[in-house]
Symmetry: C2
Subunit: 209 residues, 2 copies
């Protein structure tokens, strides 16, 4: 979202079939809430395809990549690594530290250089080495809930809400916010004529599988 810094979301582990929708939702949430890129395990090709289709239709830039060795991506990452886990430190206690470490938001003014950020979202059991490699193990509550929910709250707080103002490039279509209505317009045209193609994107992720 910020040209000076890349925010990457890594989905750690994926069980084809069982995890398809959760992995897709991790990717779509990463895109919608300000990350620049998502990295999936290479057995999550269908989720990557869905995220790319949504990006083609609703805009970017946003990349969905497949990588075979998640552990190597984490080990080799040149930047700050945050691992989201219910066993970690409370987000409200460490979020200012994380923002300062990456040079985000208000803390940027303090003078630190922007650093890339890898946000690791667990799927199947993650290895102990990940807890040790992570610069921050962060808990969005120490309660069991949803990796998608944890990612969403983390990104919203990381960007301090600025991600909601993001503009999208290269979109075929866009939704016009309305008090009561469903209006999707052709984003390739300069006027705001409703394209009337909202039906396939109703209530929930378009192309969600």
């Amino acid at each position: 979202m910020d040209e000076a810094r890349e925010v990457v979301v890594l989905r750690y582990g994926h069980r084809p079939g069982r995890d398809d929708r959760m992995t897709t939702h991790v990717g779509l949430t990463a895109r919608a809430l300000g990350a620049d890129r998502v990295v999936f395990p290479d057995n999550a090709g269908q989720s990557a395809e869905t995220v790319r289709e949504v990006t083609d239709r609703f805009g970017g830039p946003f990349d969905a990549e497949l990588r075979s060795d998640q552990a190597a991506v984490v080990r080799g990452f040149d930047g700050v690594v945050v691992h989201l886990t219910m066993y970690g430190e409370r987000m409200q206690d460490v979020e200012a530290d994380v923002r300062e470490a990456v040079g985000a938001g208000r803390e940027t003014a303090a003078g630190g250089a922007a650093r890339d950020l890898l946000v690791v979202v667990g799927g199947e059991k993650v290895p102990w080495a990940l807890y040790e490699r992570a610069d921050y193990n962060v808990a969005v509550t120490n309660q069991p809930h949803s990796e998608v929910a944890g990612l969403a709250v983390f990104l919203d707080r990381l960007f301090d809400g600025a991600e909601l103002e993001r503009e999208w490039a290269g979109a075929d279509r866009s939704v016009i916010p309305e008090a009561t209505g469903k209006t999707v317009v052709d984003a390739r045209e300069t006027d705001d004529d409703a394209a009337g193609d909202g039906a396939d994107a109703e209530s929930g992720p378009a192309g969600d599988r």
Copy 2:
């Protein structure tokens, strides 16, 4: 979360099999992020059972209910109805209005009485009547992503982060936040001896199906 006001999350529609995990995650997210109760369609019994099991283990109060007619629950709700939809008004534009309508957070001081809040999360296609009945159709971005992510960000902003400080009653166990570690203690005892039973709750919702 607040004794003077009840926040209820309604999952609208559920396709057994396909939606099981998403519906479970809606319920667990509602619980973890400060809602008092979740209402599922009556074909989502397995999700309700999982949410109740987590509440038994990690504490409450939190209720998971099954109701056959979601439309009737919405129509008959005595309070404010928020429908989360990518076609709605931008959350950042209406969140202060929603808080004021229910008498939450800082706006409570202004003197309005607390009102109950129903947060409707779409599953399969929702009827047009829901858009009309809702006091607010709210979009957590006008992008397709995840109903779980939308719910999470909405609740975190509704409660202004206070939900993260919630204490849990009647828990069998609780997680101790740690920079590097996984420590689960027996919450029924007064001391903090690690119970060593973290293995079954690792990385993701305990009892998630």
